[in-house]
Symmetry: C2
Subunit: 240 residues, 2 copies
């Protein structure tokens, strides 16, 4: 009987290859296979581009398709099938790493796999990564949260909803993920609350195309990329 392998969920951080941890690099070089999730066959993996330089040249890289849509039934079937494929490798004694952007416990594909892998009795370990919102705050030079305040993180996905307005009303510090999904709706809610000067957006943070947006008009005109994060800090005025 062969010993089972271990499945590692490895956070590779938000973008910059230097924001990868020592532990991530160690694990990515010690396993038998590194899985890179991709949206569609033939597409590049952003997560892989971050860690490529850290992984030894002869590592076995396996691309695995995880569609990005809102059809939950279809997605769940795909997650289950992918989990079964992974469990097979683990039961054959392979150690497998799964790379994921940012942190594996914050909006990641890895988290969707976990329940299935637990069912299939796969031993796993999660390696934390730098979140996009921490990098965003560092790029605008303003803390997400201080002192006795709290902060919240909400995704935009299909558009502004009650979760978003509730966050805007009840928190001092708000991070909005994927603001490009409903720029105009979001801009309206920000203006309605007089928070135009209390917000900043960083797009493509940590890449050569990074841009910082502090002008609400840019948001209103829907001119922000998919890889953007918005921070609202009610106690702070962002200068343009």
């Amino acid at each position: 009987m062969i010993d089972k392998g271990v499945f590692y969920g490895v956070g590779v951080g938000p973008s910059d290859p230097e924001l990868v941890t020592v532990k991530a690099i160690k694990i990515l070089n010690s396993v038998d296979v590194v899985i890179c999730p991709i949206k569609n066959i033939g597409e590049d993996s952003f997560a892989y581009s971050i860690v490529k330089e850290h992984i030894r040249k002869d590592m076995s890289i396996l691309e695995m398709v995880f569609p990005m849509n809102y059809k939950k039934d279809e997605l769940m079937n795909k997650w289950e099938a992918n989990a079964q494929r992974i469990a097979e490798m683990i039961h054959q004694g392979k150690n497998v790493a799964f790379i994921t952007l940012g942190d594996p416990m914050v909006y990641s594909t890895y988290a969707y796999l976990l329940p299935y892998l637990k069912e299939l009795e796969v031993e796993y370990e999660t390696i934390s990564g730098i979140t996009s919102f921490c990098l965003t705050a560092s790029r605008v030079g303003v803390p997400i949260v201080e002192w006795n305040e709290g902060f919240c993180v909400v995704p935009l996905r299909k558009g502004v909803n009650e979760r978003v307005t509730n966050a805007l009303d009840n928190f001092d510090n708000i991070v909005i993920m994927k603001p490009s999904k409903d720029c105009k709706g979001l801009a309206r809610e920000i203006i309605k609350r007089g928070l135009e000067k209390n917000m900043a957006i960083v797009s493509k943070a940590g890449t050569k195309d990074e841009a910082i947006i502090r002008d609400i008009k840019v948001l209103m005109n829907e001119e922000i990329p998919y890889f953007s994060t918005l921070i609202i800090k009610k106690s702070y005025t962002f200068e343009e």
Copy 2:
């Protein structure tokens, strides 16, 4: 005239020396001075113990006292004095790194220095680190947030307040920092909402003394250490 130096706020992550980034290690070895914040003279710096093995032996290490209390006036005077000391070094042309637990933009001493340093025209760069709540989630094997949900982070500090109860009522996923500050009060609020099975606490995460607590009685009996983080996930039942 000498060129001014640069001030680096370096997140060293929550505990495990392997959860330090490549960038943090690079900067900590390239500067002239590494500042370690300590609470009192003679006390050890936890942040320094994390990065010690990564820093070259001849690096100049400077301990700087940042008291931990709730007297804001006293603290602000100290922050200003420390910022002036740092600005002096920077204006003498030195590059200085300031290490901080977790991420520099999430409840860190570094964030309190920043406004003073900006006034003093110090050029700075912030290096993101792994947050304690990401590590906490990885240790209990449960995502902080998925899909279209949001999450919030609130500190306990002086005890349960409206911020905490508001978070418990309005969010699916809640992180409570420093739950040891009011264990009983927090336990009562959790029980009141029937969330006893939806919570887990990780204390001293990533150290050899790490412990995972899923039993509300332990919280009620105030048996949790200072370095603890509590996660509530309403859609998930933590097994004891």
